[in-house]
């Protein structure tokens, strides 16, 4: 069974290498260790292998997409990280509703990496029951 106290609390699933590195760097500055998955397949493997406090999830990834990961988490609620943050480049108006039992926040690209990392760090400190509802976090300042 996966351990209940994750060594590395944050998983970043993002296929764009530049954005992935950006998130890792921003989190490292806040002393939050993270691991990365370059696609949905890797993300699912990491989610099966260990517990995570926070998952930062891109939607548009090849073969196994962010939506697939959300569906898998909906069906495997015990593997759900405390906080699931979706990052998306899709238009707000066009983004279909994401399963609120899985997704805690949606952040639209382009985002401010320092604000996102602050939010992730805060999420690491919160307890599971505090955040159930989906909310839209605007880090772009408009």
């Amino acid at each position: 069974m996966p351990s209940s106290a994750p060594r590395c609390p944050v998983l970043i699933a993002e296929d764009d290498p530049a954005i992935r590195a950006l998130l890792v760097t921003a989190l490292r500055r806040r002393k939050v260790p993270s691991m990365t998955a370059a696609n949905g397949v890797e993300a699912l493997q990491h989610l099966k292998d260990q517990d995570w406090l926070v998952l930062v999830l891109d939607l548009m990834m090849p073969s196994v997409t962010g939506w697939d990961v959300i569906n898998w988490l909906a069906a495997n609620a015990d593997r759900k990280p405390k906080t699931v943050i979706v990052v998306s480049a899709t238009d707000r108006a066009l983004l279909k509703e994401l399963d609120p039992s899985v997704v805690n926040a949606v952040i639209f690209k382009p985002f401010d990496p320092m604000q996102l990392s602050a939010y992730v760090k805060a999420s690491c400190d919160l307890t599971h029951s505090d955040r159930r509802r989906t909310r839209i976090v605007d880090t772009t300042g408009h």
Partner: protein, 496 residues
């Protein structure tokens, strides 16, 4: 206007028209365009609810009732209607602009006239355009996220050397990605409006492939993908547009990298295959399912219909267009899921092959637009062998008689012997300048129409060329059809 004229006006009207009488809306008159919506059904004499039962529940009957009862006109814009056009019970959605106009007889409402236009194609085209714009926005945001994000981190000013270096790399890569998207959009628009122009010139393919590989190297490295290039040392000479060729090769490579798993390998191999240069790009990604293979070069197609892989889906469509414009072909092959894919491009080597294939294309696509120069004697003064061959091939295709020389002196001698009907001359010649050549032709009292081909584009240079006696000037490289039309125009001017 006689009644019969009104009737034919009604029957030939470019709109869907019918007249419905009474509170039951019985079809009293139906014009052919309206009838064509329901080709298998008899409408005349039937109440609309009976004639078109599939419209029940779509709101149209209720509207007709209201217009009949109130006498107020109703106008519908892009209203969706599900119709059984084939009479088989299958409903198809269409969109209509229409007017329900009450008809009054002796101050009493007697029926409703329906005027309509089907606008389904327009609605679907606009919807497609909207979706495309959403994709463009999405695709521009991804590199933008990286650019803004890294700039934000750089501003903090305390990144370690490695992170700093990779930040700059990410910035460069993302900016280039955005530039690429913008270029693709412009190309797509140029292709759609037929305004894409190539700058054809003799070239060696090897260095162009190398440069495309270098262009893609950082994108491949970012995914830990190895780019392996095999280019023969012997020159692969052909006529083409070097920038566009590099773009096509980079595009196909980018595609291979994108569809490869991380830490994979993409190979590009260039070889000689008879009269062709062959460029093969092989990846070990997830491959292309057999049913999608025929569509990989279609605009907006990617790996699947429901899932997108980033990018505008224009790259391969543009690549095919550019390759075909240069007389080549591009094909995709894949053994299926998980087996990777191979893209093979073939480009005609040497000017002969290029000219022949341009000519094939002209024959196939716009043979009608190539003017006939039958009986016209053309003198070509051009020292570059490839250019000369292309020009000669174009002229011969127009059935002109062609004579070629490589120097101005030889050109003057030929003119002395037999005055041609038209002269095509390069400006940079091995012995004397093309302008000096033309001045001597004119000084000898010959008014033979003459076209200068030049790589110079500055206005002062153009003035100098025209002042020397050339009747027209065209920038090199010139497209075959343009060249042929220009010569035909010069011949016409002389006749009139």
């Amino acid at each position: 206007m006689p009644r019969s004229a009104l009737y034919s006006l009604f029957m030939q009207a470019p709109a869907l028209i019918c007249v419905l009488r009474g509170p039951e809306h019985v079809f009293d008159l139906v014009n052919p365009l309206y009838q064509r919506l329901f080709p298998t059904r008899e409408l005349l004499g039937k109440p609309i609810r009976e004639a078109l039962p599939e419209l029940e529940g779509q709101g149209f009957f209720e509207l007709l009732d209201r217009v009949f009862a109130s006498g107020e006109t109703f106008t519908g814009k892009e209203s969706p209607a599900r119709l059984d056009r084939t009479g088989t019970g299958t409903l198809e959605e269409g969109y209509f602009d229409f007017v329900y106009q009450p008809m009054t007889v002796d101050g009493r409402i007697d029926g409703v006239t329906v005027f309509g236009l089907e606008v389904t194609d327009q609605v679907l085209a606009r919807r497609q355009a909207d979706e495309f714009i959403a994709v463009v926005a999405h695709e521009l945001r991804t590199p933008m996220t990286s650019i803004l994000g890294w700039v934000r981190l750089l501003r903090l000013g305390d990144l370690d050397a490695d992170t700093y270096a990779s930040a700059l790399e990410a910035l460069e890569r993302s900016t280039k990605a955005q530039a690429r998207i913008i270029e693709d959009l412009l190309d797509e628009s140029r292709i759609a409006s037929g305004k894409l122009r190539l700058e054809l010139r003799p070239l060696n393919l090897g260095p162009i492939v190398q440069s495309a590989v270098e262009m893609m190297r950082s994108a491949a490295e970012a995914r830990n993908t190895m780019l392996v290039a095999q280019v023969p040392e012997e020159p692969l000479e052909m006529v083409g547009d070097p920038n566009r060729l590099e773009q096509v090769i980079a595009n196909v490579l980018a595609n291979a990298v994108k569809f490869s798993p991380e830490e994979s390998r993409v190979e590009i191999r260039v070889s000689h295959a008879g009269p062709w240069a062959e460029i093969e790009v092989r990846d070990y990604g997830r491959g292309i399912p057999a049913d999608l293979l025929p569509y990989v070069f279609d605009r907006g197609r990617q790996g699947g219909t429901t899932e997108r892989q980033g990018g505008l889906g224009l790259g391969l469509a543009i690549a095919r267009h550019l390759i075909e414009l240069q007389g080549g072909t591009i094909e995709a092959a894949s053994e299926g899921d998980g087996k990777g894919a191979t893209f093979t491009m073939r480009l005609p080597l040497h000017a002969d092959a290029a000219a022949a294939s341009f000519m094939d294309r002209e024959r196939g696509e716009r043979a009608a637009s190539l003017p006939s120069l039958k009986g016209v004697h053309v003198l070509i003064v051009e020292d570059d062998i490839d250019n000369r061959k292309v020009i000669a091939a174009v002229m011969e295709r127009c059935e002109a008689t062609v004579e070629c020389t490589t120097t101005a002196a030889e050109g003057l001698r030929r003119i002395e012997r037999r005055n041609p009907d038209v002269i095509i001359a390069d400006i940079v010649l091995p012995d004397i300048d093309g302008c000096a050549f033309m001045e001597r032709v004119r000084a000898a009292g010959r008014d033979t129409p003459a076209l200068a081909l030049t790589v110079f584009s500055r206005p002062r240079e153009q003035e100098r060329i025209l002042a020397s006696g050339f009747n027209a000037l065209r920038q090199k490289p010139i497209e075959p059809a343009d060249l042929a039309n220009e010569i035909a125009r010069l011949m016409e001017i002389r006749v009139t």
